[in-house]
C-alpha cells in the first residue's frame, strides 16, 4: 500500500521543491532589496555624521568613516546658538498641549454627541463633518492674520490655539462612545454620580484604546509639523525642531557632516520612541486611514 502511493508523491514533490527554492530565493532577494533601499539613507546619514566635514566632500564618497570622529556632535552640543534642549522643549510643549487638548475635547464632545439628545444636535454634528473636510491651506491665511492682530506671532500659544478642537477626533470617539452601554451610565446616575463624574470615571476609562491611538497619531503629526509652525514661529528661540533643522542647514552650508549630525540628533530620538509605539501607530493608520 505504501509502495503504491509513495513514489507518486515523491515524483510530484521533487520538481516543485526546486521551483519553491528559486521563488523563495527571489522573494527574499526582492524584499532585501526593498529593505536596503529603505534603510541605506538612514545608515548613510548616521555614518556621515561621524565623518569630518572634509571627508563628506570627498569624491568618490566613502561608505565607512575613514577617521571616526565625534567632533560634529561636540560642536553641536557646545553651540550656544543651538540650545537643542530648548527646541526639544518647544516641540514637546506644542505636541503635548495639542494632544491633551484634543483628547479632552474629542472625548467630551464625542461622548455628548453619542449619548445625549438636544435640539440642534444634527446641525452641529453636520457642521463638524464639514469642518473635517476643510484643508489647512484654506484656514492658514486668515488664522495667521488673526494671530498677527492678537500679537501671538512667535508665541507657542499662538501655534496651538487653533487646534484645541479636532473634528476628526470627535467623529471617531463618537463612534466609540455609541458602543458604551447606556444602562451603565444610567446606573451611575441613579447611584448619584454627577454628569462630569460619569464622563471622568466611567466614559474616559472605557476609551483607553482609541484615545491612545488618537494621541499617538496627534503627537506624531504635531512633532513633525512644518508649514504652520514655520509661519507662526519666526523668532529662532521659539521654533520647533523641524524648522530649527532647516534653519541649521541653511546657516551651515558646505558642512555636510555637521548638518547630518544635527539631523541625527533631531530625528533619531523621537524615531526610536515612535518605534516602540509602532504597533499602535500602524493600527491607528489602518483603522482611521488618517495621516
Amino acid at each position: 500500500m505504501t509502495t503504491n502511493t509513495f513514489p507518486a508523491e515523491v515524483r510530484t514533490r521533487k520538481p516543485f521543491a526546486w521551483g519553491k527554492f528559486f521563488s523563495q530565493f527571489l522573494l527574499y532577494f526582492i524584499l532585501t532589496l526593498g529593505i536596503s533601499f529603505t534603510l541605506l539613507p538612514f545608515v548613510m546619514m548616521i555614518l556621515s555624521s561621524f565623518k569630518t566635514n572634509l571627508e563628506v566632500l570627498q569624491v568618490p564618497p566613502t561608505f565607512w568613516p575613514k577617521t571616526f570622529t565625534l567632533e560634529n556632535y561636540i560642536k553641536i552640543f557646545n553651540d550656544p546658538k543651538l540650545p537643542l534642549l530648548r527646541f526639544y522643549g518647544n516641540s514637546a510643549f506644542v505636541s503635548i498641549f495639542n494632544v491633551v487638548a484634543t483628547l479632552f475635547t474629542s472625548s467630551l464632545v464625542g461622548y455628548m454627541f453619542a449619548k445625549f439628545e438636544f435640539p440642534g444636535k444634527k446641525i452641529l454634528f453636520g457642521w463638524f463633518l464639514t469642518m473635517m473636510m476643510i484643508p489647512t491651506q484654506i484656514t492658514m491665511i486668515p488664522s495667521y492674520l488673526i494671530l498677527a492682530r492678537l500679537h501671538l506671532i512667535n508665541s507657542l500659544w499662538g501655534l496651538v490655539i487653533f487646534s484645541a478642537v479636532d473634528a476628526f477626533g470627535i467623529f471617531m470617539l463618537r463612534q466609540f462612545c455609541e458602543t458604551l452601554p447606556s444602562e451603565l451610565l444610567d446606573a451611575a446616575r441613579i447611584d448619584g454620580a454627577s454628569e462630569w463624574q460619569i464622563y471622568l470615571r466611567i466614559v474616559l476609562p472605557q476609551l483607553g484604546a482609541p484615545l491612545a491611538t488618537l494621541g499617538i497619531l496627534g503627537f506624531m503629526g504635531n512633532w513633525n509639523a512644518y508649514l504652520w509652525p514655520m509661519i507662526v514661529l519666526q523668532k529662532i528661540e521659539v521654533r520647533t525642531l523641524p524648522i530649527i533643522l532647516t534653519w541649521f542647514n541653511s546657516t551651515h552650508t558646505g558642512q555636510g557632516a555637521l548638518v547630518m549630525a544635527a539631523t541625527v540628533l533631531i530625528i533619531m530620538p523621537i524615531l526610536i520612541v515612535f518605534l516602540f509605539f509602532q504597533r499602535w501607530i500602524v493600527q491607528g493608520f489602518t483603522m482611521t486611514g488618517f495621516k
Binding site: 524584499l31 529603505t38 568618490p60 455628548m112 532647516t246 547630518m260
Partner: protein, 326 residues
C-alpha cells in the same frame, strides 16, 4: 411598570437627572460653539479674502483691513489665474501643472512599489513580516525635513552617493536638484528627484494599509483557486485584487490628496528651483502669502487647490458607491 409608593421620589430624581443632563450639555456646547464660531470666522475671512487684492502690509479699510488700499476685485484673482499675463499668474499656472505632474507621477509609482511588496510580504513568516513592516515604516515616521536633508546629501552633485553610483557605471554625474535643462520624459530632473524622495518617505504608509487589507482576504479563497489549478499570479489578479478593491481606491485617493498638497519636502529640497520647475501649488501659496504679502491672491489659489481636493474626494465617493452596489 407597577405603580407603587416608591415611584414618586424616583420620578423627582429623574427630573433632577434631566436637569443635570441639560446642564452638562449646555456646559459643553456653549464653550464649543464659541470656539467653533472662531472657525466660522476664519472660514468666512478666507472666503472674503479671495475677492480682494489684499496685502497685510497695507492698512486698508476699517473692517479687517478690507477695502481702501486693499481694493475689492471681484473675480479678478480667478480671471487673472486663467488668462492673466503677470508673473504671478503664469507662475500659478506653472505651479498647477507641476502639482498635477507630481501627483500623477506619484500614484502609479507608489502602487507599483507598495502592492507587489505587500503581496510578497504575505508569503513570509509573521516574525519577518513584522520586522520588514517596521523598517518600511521608518521613513513615514521621520520628519519630512529630515528626509529632505538626507536626500539632499545623497543628491549632492559632487560627493553624493547617487552620482557616485552613476560614475561607477561610467555615466556623467547630474546636478539633480539644480540642473534646469536635464529631464526625463518631459519632466525636469529636479522634479524626478523630489518625486523619488517623496516616494521613499511615503511608500511605507500605503504598504501597511495593503498588508492589513491582504490579511483580511480569507485564505480559503486563494487556496481554493490554487487547488483548482490557478497559478499564484492568477490567484492574485482574479481573487485577491478584486477583494481589496475598496482598499485600492482608498489608497489611491489618499495618495492623490496628500501629493496634491505636498509642501515640506519640496520647500526644503529645492524651494521651487530650478526655474520654478518644482514650484508646486502649496509652495506658490506659501510664497505669495508669507513672502510677497499677496494674501488675496494666495487665498484665491488655496480655494482652487481646495476645489481640486474636493473633486478628487467626490470622484472617490462615486467610485466607492458603485463598488457598494456591485
Amino acid at each position: 411598570m407597577v405603580m407603587n409608593p416608591t415611584q414618586k421620589p424616583r420620578k423627582k430624581a429623574e427630573g433632577g437627572l434631566v436637569i443635570a443632563k441639560r446642564r452638562f450639555v449646555t456646559g459643553v456646547t456653549i464653550p464649543l460653539l464659541l470656539y467653533e464660531s472662531l472657525g466660522i470666522f476664519v472660514l468666512g475671512w478666507a472666503f472674503v479674502l479671495m475677492f480682494f487684492d489684499y496685502s497685510s502690509g497695507r492698512l486698508g479699510g476699517p473692517i479687517l483691513g478690507l477695502g481702501g488700499s486693499n481694493p475689492f476685485v471681484g473675480l479678478g484673482n480667478f480671471i487673472g489665474m486663467i488668462k492673466g499675463t503677470s508673473v504671478e499668474a503664469s507662475l500659478f499656472r506653472t505651479s498647477l501643472l507641476n502639482t498635477l505632474i507630481f501627483a500623477v507621477a506619484i500614484l502609479p509609482l507608489n502602487l507599483a512599489i507598495t502592492l507587489p511588496l505587500a503581496w510578497l510580504l504575505e508569503s513570509i513568516g509573521d516574525r519577518f513580516k513584522a520586522l520588514y513592516r517596521t523598517i518600511y515604516f521608518l521613513p513615514v515616521l521621520t520628519s519630512s525635513v529630515g528626509v529632505a536633508l538626507i536626500w539632499m546629501s545623497m543628491y549632492d552633485p559632487q560627493a553624493g552617493w547617487i552620482n557616485a553610483i552613476i560614475r561607477f557605471f561610467g555615466g556623467t554625474p547630474i546636478s539633480w536638484l539644480s540642473d534646469p535643462h536635464a529631464g526625463v520624459a518631459g519632466v525636469s530632473i529636479a522634479m524626478w528627484a523630489v518625486i523619488l524622495a517623496y516616494l521613499w518617505q511615503d511608500y511605507g504608509y500605503n504598504m501597511v494599509i495593503f498588508i492589513a487589507a491582504l490579511q483580511g482576504v480569507p485564505p480559503e479563497l486563494k487556496e481554493a483557486a490554487l487547488i483548482d489549478g490557478a497559478g499564484p499570479w492568477q490567484a492574485f489578479i482574479k481573487i485577491t485584487l478584486p477583494l481589496i478593491r475598496p482598499t485600492m481606491l482608498f489608497v489611491c485617493v489618499m495618495t492623490m490628496l496628500s501629493s496634491f498638497q505636498v509642501f515640506d519636502i519640496i520647500q526644503v529640497m529645492t524651494n521651487g528651483e530650478p526655474n520654478n520647475q518644482t514650484q508646486v501649488l502649496m509652495l506658490d501659496i506659501y510664497k505669495n502669502a508669507f513672502r510677497y504679502q499677496n494674501l488675496g491672491w494666495a487665498a484665491a489659489e488655496s480655494f482652487v487647490l481646495f476645489l481640486i481636493v474636493m473633486a478628487v474626494t467626490i470622484i472617490q465617493m462615486r467610485l466607492l458607491r458603485t463598488e457598494w452596489e456591485y
